[in-house]
């Protein structure tokens, strides 16, 4: 490793954000180069000063009290739910199970979360050309303008670095029977489908080995039929962006914004 390359990774090294091999290379360089060794010491001292002197403001007691009271109020406001949950729901649920068993129906538990499968199915159908694109453009602004007024929520650009992928076009689709925006994207020969959809009243599945759903940062990921489905939340408006592709997961992950 030369000094230039060392400088390039100086901060990720300092911040413990590099892989083990690079770390070993950098440590080796420091032990042989007094200039870089001085540089890293100087940065370490600076980081230490920042860490020790940046003051964390404590929440005032009044805020603590206000938040507790607010949460209590919110619980009381929905107290009818307690009644429903405690007395009516169990009987009703039992009735549903009896009816389901009687009619040989399989109840959908948390482990079946059809949005993932539905997104993969849709991805395959669009690739096969079963549903043609309704618009073709490489300009995301044009695409967003096309969706304006066509969905019940404001369509936003897909959670993907649009400077690194090529937007092909899109169309309106139905995901879980809800009108959603569909974008078809391309990168190095791989096709990527992005669905922006409103999932307000859809309960989320549990992350577990059984469901095959895993967390990816603050997102969910599931692999079906060789296709990776990444579920990105928009907690502020209850919508979600679902990405589907057969691109290697690591590469796809790097493109997510």
């Amino acid at each position: 490793m030369d000094c230039q390359r060392f400088q390039e990774y100086l901060y990720p090294f300092l911040d413990k954000e590099i892989d083990e091999n690079l770390k070993i290379e950098m440590e080796k360089h420091i032990s042989n180069c007094p200039v870089c060794s001085f540089e890293i010491e100087k940065e370490r001292k600076f980081s230490h000063v920042l860490k020790t002197h940046l003051i964390k403001e404590k929440a005032p007691f009044a805020l603590h009290e206000a938040v507790v009271e607010q949460l209590e109020k919110s619980k009381r406001k929905f107290s009818w739910r307690y009644v429903f949950a405690g007395q009516i729901a169990p009987s009703f649920a039992l009735l549903v199970i009896v009816v389901a068993v009687f009619f040989n129906l399989r109840p959908h538990g948390d482990n079946t979360f059809p949005v993932f499968s539905e997104a993969v199915e849709n991805h395959l159908e669009y690739l096969r050309g079963i549903y043609p694109l309704e618009f073709q453009t490489g300009d995301v602004k044009e695409a967003l303008a096309w969706f304006r007024g066509k969905t019940d929520f404001a369509v936003t650009p897909p959670h993907i670095n649009l400077s690194k992928v090529h937007l092909v076009g899109g169309r309106l689709v139905h995901l879980k029977d809800k009108k959603s925006a569909y974008f078809l994207l391309e990168k190095d020969g791989y096709k990527i489908s992005a669905f922006h959809t409103d999932l307000h009243d859809v309960s989320l599945p549990k992350v577990s080995a059984k469901s095959g759903i895993n967390p990816l940062g603050m997102r969910l990921v599931k692999t079906e039929k060789g296709y990776h489905t990444i579920y990105c939340f928009h907690p502020e408006d209850g919508t979600a962006c679902i990405l589907v592709s057969d691109m290697p997961l690591e590469e796809l992950e790097k493109l997510i914004v």
Partner: protein, 177 residues
Amino acid sequence: MFGLFKNEESKESFEESLLGHLDSLYNFAYRLTRNREEAEDIVQEASLRGLKSYHRFVEGTNFKAWMFTIVRNIFINGYRKKSREPLKVNYEEAENFISLSGFTGFEEELFSETLQQSLGQLPEELRTTLMLFYVEELPYKEIAEVMKCPIGTVMSRLFMARQCMKKKMVRLAQKEY
């Protein structure tokens, strides 16, 4: 139907997690707004929003980072409009600032007050990134989630924030001490 039982349980678990991170949330909101009253209002609003959408929180992920995202969204949508500070970092200006008068040595004549003052003067995106890294100790990836930007942007913001802090602190220290 059984989900309703789960809802009541999750309200309890939400409250517990929220109160455990209240200082961090308040500190984060205060660094965004630089105003104590507004920070309290934001935290209260975020608590309600968080409770409403808690069923969307993915177990096993970072609750604090999830709440930071909500706090920052409230700030961006409501409070930042009122504030006078520029919405985005002027990277060109920041870069010029960094490349001005070559910074050669770093003297450790730094005091907390000077440092807080310097932090307050940073543009919001740099200030927030710096706080999330040094005070909340979030990794690059989680900062990227909160700031809704790629990891590369987190790295460059952190770099600029550090450079600006070095210069500002040295200037302030020279002026005042």
